[in-house]
């Protein structure tokens, strides 16, 4: 479906204004987060193998600006709630909203996901987790129940410093791939696609983590795939609030040329 929507300045700025408002209210925040835990799309897309704590609950949001390979701009705002209903288990519900002149497919979908962590890492064994996500097609140009399976592994590689490597593999199944015309070109969605991410994170300062990763992925549209690298930071702003920042540079012609990401996780 060709997207002809042209958002105004206020609409384009709204997600960033929301994040700014949350940051300004951070001093009054109460609850708990952990800057060492990597969460998908908070700073970077790399995630670690650990679930949020049992009985924890967090309000989360991130905003991501993306300039794609064709020079189109999209801003994504994702409010979410994450809870730990059982030990080593987390559930989250998110509703992504996209604005801009880029690909807005899926805006307004409801994303429900669960993650189970099997173990904490030992001296030699990495921590591993499996996660599943269902995208309920309530949003723009969406049909069919898509799902994603995610595997994550985390292993500390240094002795007296918390430097950890992480590996993620993701498989997404598109229940009803669509075909559309863009100019003279027929565009078809993939029925299934894979993403692989490897990265490293370490404590940069007592309250700050740095993470770098490499992504190789198949994109939504058939025939498109590419690589990108990400750099992110996560900071414990107070005992209950984590803020994350990140940037992505695409490698090659098909990957998004640039992405920037700001996220907040506020326990309540």
């Amino acid at each position: 479906m060709k997207n002809t929507y042209k958002p105004g300045l206020l609409t384009r700025s709204l997600p960033w204004l929301l994040v700014l408002a949350l940051m300004l209210s951070a001093e009054m925040a109460r609850a708990q987060s952990d800057f060492m835990n990597l969460e998908n799309n908070f700073g970077v897309r790399l995630e670690d193998a650990y679930a949020t704590a049992y009985r924890n609950r967090e309000a989360q949001t991130y905003v991501r600006y993306e300039r794609d390979a064709k020079g189109r701009n999209t801003t994504l705002l994702v409010p979410a709630v994450e809870i730990g209903p059982f030990r080593n288990t987390q559930f989250s519900v998110a509703v992504p909203v996209r604005v801009g002149n880029g690909d807005r497919t899926g805006t307004g979908n409801i994303e429900v996901s669960g993650l189970y962590n099997f173990n904490t890492e030992g001296l030699y064994l990495p921590a591993v987790s499996l996660a599943a996500q269902a995208d309920i097609p309530t949003g723009l140009a969406s049909s069919g129940l898509d799902y994603t399976l995610r595997f994550a592994a985390t292993k500390t590689i240094t002795r007296m410093h918390p430097t950890r490597i992480h590996a993620n593999v993701r498989y997404t199944r598109n229940a009803q791939p669509s075909t559309s015309r863009e100019g003279n070109e027929l565009i078809t969605e993939r029925a299934e696609r894979w993403v692989g991410i490897v990265g490293i994170s370490t404590r940069l300062a007592p309250q700050t983590l740095i993470v770098v990763d490499f992504i190789r992925e198949q994109f939504r549209l058939a025939g498109a795939m590419g690589n990108s690298v990400e750099l992110g930071f996560r900071r414990q702003m107070n005992p209950r609030l984590v803020m994350s920042l990140g940037g992505t540079a695409g490698l090659g012609e098909q990957a998004p040329s640039v992405r920037a990401n700001v996220g907040l996780q506020q326990a309540f």
Partner: protein, 450 residues
């Protein structure tokens, strides 16, 4: 390379290679993570907001607690003098310069021990979380003074129920130390004797924490009261306590008698955690065992000192030697090596002696007790036999009878344990419960006693 083909096999190989690069093929172990979040209340994070610099000092102490595990397990005992001096300087710098505004969990500075003995860090982090709760309750002006106990009891209940396998006992240290029966283990006193500076950092921290609780207890909820009292506690920490560090672990009953009377359960949990710190450091600095044996012993001690149903009936079984103590002062008794902790140790020693040394002569008993006293103090003194308390006693009395399990990792010397618990029952079983503390009246801060 075809850009449109996703090389799944290649990716899988890459991931597997990265994950196994650091695995030398040894026997591997892993545990469930089982993290539990804190209980929500109107007071959450009140201490951080009201007493920010103190939160930063506490973060510095927790830096000590976390990192010390890795320092001890990963550096050779032979390098102890330099390791001890360097770590002491590092901790002081972290505390004094408020390097972190929020308290770290143990794994942040002890990543190796987190992988070696995760249950130890679960235990410590869970108990630190409980104490964050109780500091917050005391700091929060949203919790009326006469509701402080009610909220504290709620936090204790949550602490005991939600993480049962790692919750510390609400029974006093007099009982839990006897249950753990560690005194004749080959590691006991290693940390205090071989790493006296780092050990005294822990004892400064274990002075500061109860001093802050008690500063809250004498100050009440009103604006400015707690701020002024805790500021004074922090001042004497740097002006007096660091310059003349405590020579023993100060117990809650000594330095926070009002709080201990208000919530003996929380106060005992506090002491039991602090003793666990010392025992863990003893075990990790002992080089006679493998890491697997160290883990076995750590887990045995954690279990032995954990909460057991019925412990509530012992919660108020302790004395209050200084009921009117002012936490804004640092008198000689706080720095002394003699106090409630050394009294507990001496009682246990005397309970064990008839079993280990049935025919001991008065002269030898004097020598044994002299060594015992020196071993309880940090560092090495002239005439003190190097090593653990066990090493010193064996040198004095090579024929000393050792109980089954006394020397083994992960084993409890049951006869010794029973003998000591019987000893406590005979001495203290009938002691009256310590009096509750009235929270009906919000106190005004008294002037510092002259």
């Amino acid at each position: 390379m075809n850009n449109n083909r996703f090389n799944k096999a290649g990716l899988a190989s890459l991931l597997l290679g990265a994950l196994t690069a650091c695995a030398p093929g040894k026997q591997i172990t892993s545990e469930p993570r089982k993290e539990v979040s804190y209980i929500r209340g109107p007071y959450n994070a009140a201490f951080f907001r009201r007493h920010g610099p103190s939160e930063a000092y506490s973060a510095g102490f927790h830096y000590h607690h976390g990192k010390e595990h890795d320092v001890l397990v990963l550096t050779p005992l032979a390098d102890r003098e330099k390791v001890d001096a360097d770590f002491d300087a590092s901790v002081f710098d972290f505390v004094k310069n408020q390097k972190s505004k929020v308290g770290p969990n143990m794994a942040l500075y002890g990543p190796y021990t987190a992988r070696l003995a995760w249950k130890l860090f679960r235990t410590i982090d869970w108990t630190h979380q409980h104490h964050e709760q109780t500091y917050d309750i005391m700091a929060s002006q949203r919790v009326a003074w006469d509701k402080k106990k009610e909220w504290t009891d709620r936090a204790v209940k949550y602490y005991l129920e939600r993480n049962k396998d790692v919750a510390r006992s609400v029974a006093p240290l007099d009982i839990t130390m006897r249950r753990a029966a560690t005194m004749m283990k080959p590691y006991f006193t290693y940390y205090r004797n071989f790493y006296p500076k780092s050990n005294s950092q822990a004892w400064v921290a274990h002075w500061w924490h109860p001093a802050v609780y008690e500063a809250q207890m004498i100050s009440g909820n009103a604006d400015g009261g707690q701020e002024a009292a805790i500021k004074e506690v922090n001042r004497i920490m740097f002006d007096e306590v660091y310059k003349n560090r405590p020579q023993r672990m100060v117990l809650s009953r000594e330095l926070m008698p009002r709080y201990s009377r208000m919530s003996p359960e929380s106060a005992n949990i506090f002491d039991n955690l602090h003793m666990l710190h010392g025992l863990a450091y003893d075990i990790l600095s002992y080089e006679g065992w493998t890491e697997e044996q160290q883990r076995e012993e750590l887990y045995r001690v954690i279990d032995a000192m954990s909460y057991q149903p019925g412990d509530e009936k012992y919660a108020r079984k302790f004395d209050i030697p200084y009921p009117d103590v002012d936490p804004r002062q640092y008198p000689g008794w706080m720095a002394s090596s003699e106090g409630s902790m050394s009294k507990i140790m001496k009682e246990m020693m005397e309970e064990m002696m008839p079993m280990m040394m049935p025919d001991i002569s008065p002269d030898m008993k004097e020598k044994v007790m002299a060594q015992f006293q020196m071993k309880m103090r940090p560092g090495m003194e002239p005439g003190e036999i190097e090593g653990s308390l066990h090493d010193a006693l064996m040198k004095l009395m090579p024929g000393m009878t050792m109980m089954p399990g006394a020397m083994d990792a992960g084993k409890t010397p049951e006869m010794m344990r029973e003998m000591m618990l019987k000893g406590w029952q005979e001495k203290h079983g009938n002691m009256p419960d310590v009096e509750p503390y009235s929270m009906q009246k919000d106190p005004s801060q008294p002037a510092i006693n002259q």
